[in-house]
Subunit: 502 residues, 2 copies
């Protein structure tokens, strides 16, 4: 089953041209040349200053299962050019990821544009076949996690955020991935039950408008009694609510005749079924003249029997203005009926949040990959990047420095000469107060060689990672650009490569 | 495996509130009440005048497998309110889609806003549980198919369109669904090999820039010989290309020294491997001074040995302008070297096409569902909609008319009194020249009762469906709005329902 992350897809989940190229490399005897590619993005998504890296776990799962079934080979034989030699397909039968290695930032880390999220090394043919799939698994995961982190920053640390985009997702798996990576990025809940089952994400949800509008009057409510929490005789709950409704309408100056009786019946029926979990969906009819008094009446009746309603939900209209008016009504009821907790009844809003996020998702950044090394046939390992966050005295990281793998990494307190990317031609000297090496080896020759964190741990790491970031870089609009630099030696290599390419 | 369409997901692939509502309906003894919902959209996507309905096949697959496993029940017990009775879960164990019926327009049909794509009928509890999943399966499928149909209209009937969005999709399944439904909407190929294997969609692809840049000189080419198509001695192919390159550069007035030798080696090596399938990716270095002469040299050398190159691809820059210059160069070579087919070498462009479509996808229409009927407890069947395209003498359908299921359907040549939706309060008389009933019963009591078309047939139906549409409605910008009307009887019912809702 694809399950957006815990997922394992087959090796055919890639673009056909990867196989044409593999065939050409094989024919030229180059298939086992050492090769590597780096996965990075060119601009931060959402016009922001940072991104969260996600999808590593899904990539590792994909790699562990990477091999061709007889049916895969048969299909490839039917679509590759007829001149493709049989021996190439025989070779593909032997291919797996047992010579592939991956270094990556830990999943959930803050990353910046142009700094690789991960590096894949292995035989040219295999690495080529992996490119599309790894891009696919990391691209969407990172975008969703980044988007969620931005919502979390906007909402502040205390507000609860719930993802409920399944019905508008790119199919079932798009929805599952969205649930998973929204959670990583800082959401608290999902409405998607399967995501809850597969990933352990807390699920939430009560009723839809269709439930509310499926009732027309209190006569339809059945059963009609509710036992107080502390025990004792069952109470005629519709009658109790009816009594409360008169008091509430009088207090809030709402004409009793305007209150929708179907809505009242729906609330009453739901509260009898789930007295600990009553949430009022207020906007099926009129929020202030019907949804609100009905909620207050049911919640106060529940309160009389010892139960607390869990809150209200608004799904349309001017959410901010309505929230203020609702809060005011809760205060009035709290004081008048002497029910202190009532002034703090949670107000949930659900509206186009997911659409505006979808809209942003579309202005997405292309995740790109660059094959480096192999030019001229030298050994590849010396061409790989290493990267580190450099910190200043402020405690915030202030620059990412990429170096060649065979250079000594930067060290705290030691001066280094660097070139800032995209800032002119001058080199410049920096002396970091702290150095954090970004990439770790996760896969060595096809074997996972690092304990993999749980989803909960990834989420915590993401939150910590965002917290450590200088507020100037995490502003949602017009953030200050984070500095990315390369060592003099890497700069020289890049200049060479560019010259070759002219 | 989720496979976007042929897919089967489990019954937990839905929002939690569907289960809360199911629990409340069950507790109130309403779970077996007959219910139905209609799936429709409020506005056509992409500011267009029509949409293509897709996803029915995936919905039917989902319904056929709809039942709860012991693990599903156990998970639900852990997340629903603690007061939920055990008997509710026992009931869920017995639930399946054996009492569900679906009427739908055939997959691939043109549909308009507010006219239901399909209607789902069955016991209230089951129908409620299905809502999110069916929306998820139809929403994205229809958007992608509609988007593809718009590209097809824009490109005209002859140009080839290829989908290659896997690396930017919402995970593996988002990519597979995109391949499948782009094909339905009018695309010819996909790059996604798994989509080819699963759905039989033709796959295409040759090389990426990384392949081209992995070579530096002709010395790296191995093997170096190619046998003529008609047989005979193998030829030193790099030498033959080298000779052609001089002639081409002279003819096109390109300095030989500016031609990139790595690109030349990549083209040569690929052509030796796949002489029937050589495509030149022209924009790794300079299109006009390197990619183009290198392509011409290799293609003309292949031609000398009896092979035809399949074309060129441009992936960056001003695609329109470059295409014109390339076509001109092909004509020049064709005439000068007397190779008639050369002036018609196909030019493929691949650039932000998929992004602009993604961008549009984000401004997507919400697919909505409306539960109708059941108000007041009457039998539901009389509340269902029927809908028909009405045609005028022009041969184009010009109005969709929705009526109640127990009304006689409109008939060609017979006058009917209708109310146009969104056009004032007057009724109006129409006499259709032709009537096409839109919905067919696909699922009766859980059993598929209609032969299901193949993907190829769905694609053909979609193309025919778009062809039949009046050009005024399929204009990509500012299309003329298609008329949607209801019968007097349905109008009266809707007015009643609205009044109840006040």
């Amino acid at each position: 089953m694809w399950a957006g992350g815990g997922a394992v897809g087959g090796p055919l989940l890639t673009d056909l041209y990867q196989f044409s190229m593999a065939g050409a490399y094989w024919r030229a005897g180059r298939h086992r040349e050492p090769a590597e590619f780096e996965l990075f993005f060119r601009r931060c998504p959402f016009q922001g200053g940072f991104a969260l890296a996600a999808g590593l776990d899904a990539c590792l799962a994909f790699l562990r299962a990477f091999r061709f079934s007889p049916a895969d080979i048969e299909y490839l034989e039917s679509v590759l050019p007829v001149t493709t030699e049989k021996a190439f397909f025989d070779y593909l039968r032997t291919v797996d990821a047992s010579e592939v290695s991956i270094s990556s930032v830990p999943e959930g880390s803050v990353v910046f544009s142009r700094v690789p999220i991960f590096q894949v090394k292995g035989p040219l043919l295999v690495v080529q076949l992996l490119e599309t799939t790894l891009l696919c698994l990391v691209n969407y995961a990172s975008l969703v996690a980044t988007n969620a982190a931005r919502f979390r920053l906007k909402a502040g640390p205390d507000k609860k955020l719930m993802e409920m985009g399944l019905r508008r997702a790119q199919g079932p798996d798009g929805g599952l991935s969205a649930s998973k990576y929204s959670y990583v990025g800082g959401f608290d809940f999902t409405s998607n039950v399967l995501a809850g089952q597969l990933y352990g994400i807390p699920v939430r949800g009560t009723v839809a408008h269709s439930y509310v509008s499926s009732f027309t009057s209190l006569a339809e409510v059945n059963p009609r009694v509710l036992r107080p929490l502390s025990g004792g005789e069952p109470v005629d709950f519709p009658a109790l609510v009816e009594a409360w409704l008169s008091k509430v309408c009088q207090l809030l100056r709402v004409p009793l005749a305007r209150v929708n009786r179907g809505e009242q019946a729906a609330f009453v029926s739901y509260a009898i079924t789930f007295p600990h979990n009553f949430q009022g969906l207020l906007d099926t009819y009129c929020v202030l003249r019907s949804g609100l008094p009905n909620f207050c009446a049911v919640a106060l009746a529940l309160n009389e029997l010892g139960y607390r309603a869990i809150g209200v939900r608004l799904d349309s209209g001017d959410l901010a203005r309505q929230s203020v008016e609702i809060r005011q009504a809760f205060r009035t009821c709290s004081t008048h009926f002497q029910v202190p907790w009532f002034e703090r009844v949670p107000i949930a809003v659900s509206n186009d949040v997911s659409e505006s996020s979808l809209e942003e998702l579309a202005q997405e950044v292309k995740m790109a990959s660059a094959f480096v090394g192999r030019r001229g046939g030298g050994p590849c390992s010396s061409r790989a990047f290493a990267a580190a966050h450099l910190g200043k005295g402020t405690g915030f990281p202030c620059m990412d420095l990429m170096s060649l793998e065979d250079e000594l990494p930067p060290r705290a307190g030691e001066e280094a000469e660097v070139r800032l990317l995209g800032r002119g031609k001058e080199s410049r000297k920096v002396t970091p107060a702290a150095v954090e090496i970004l990439h770790r080896l996760y896969l060595r020759d096809g074997q996972v060689c690092q304990a993999l964190p749980s989803l909960e741990e990834i989420k915590k790491h993401a939150q910590a990672s965002v917290r450590k970031l200088n507020p100037a870089h995490k502003r949602l609009q017009d953030p200050e650009a984070y500095q990315v630099a390369v060592t003099q030696k890497l700069h020289a290599l890049l200049t060479d490569l560019q010259r070759d390419g002219q």
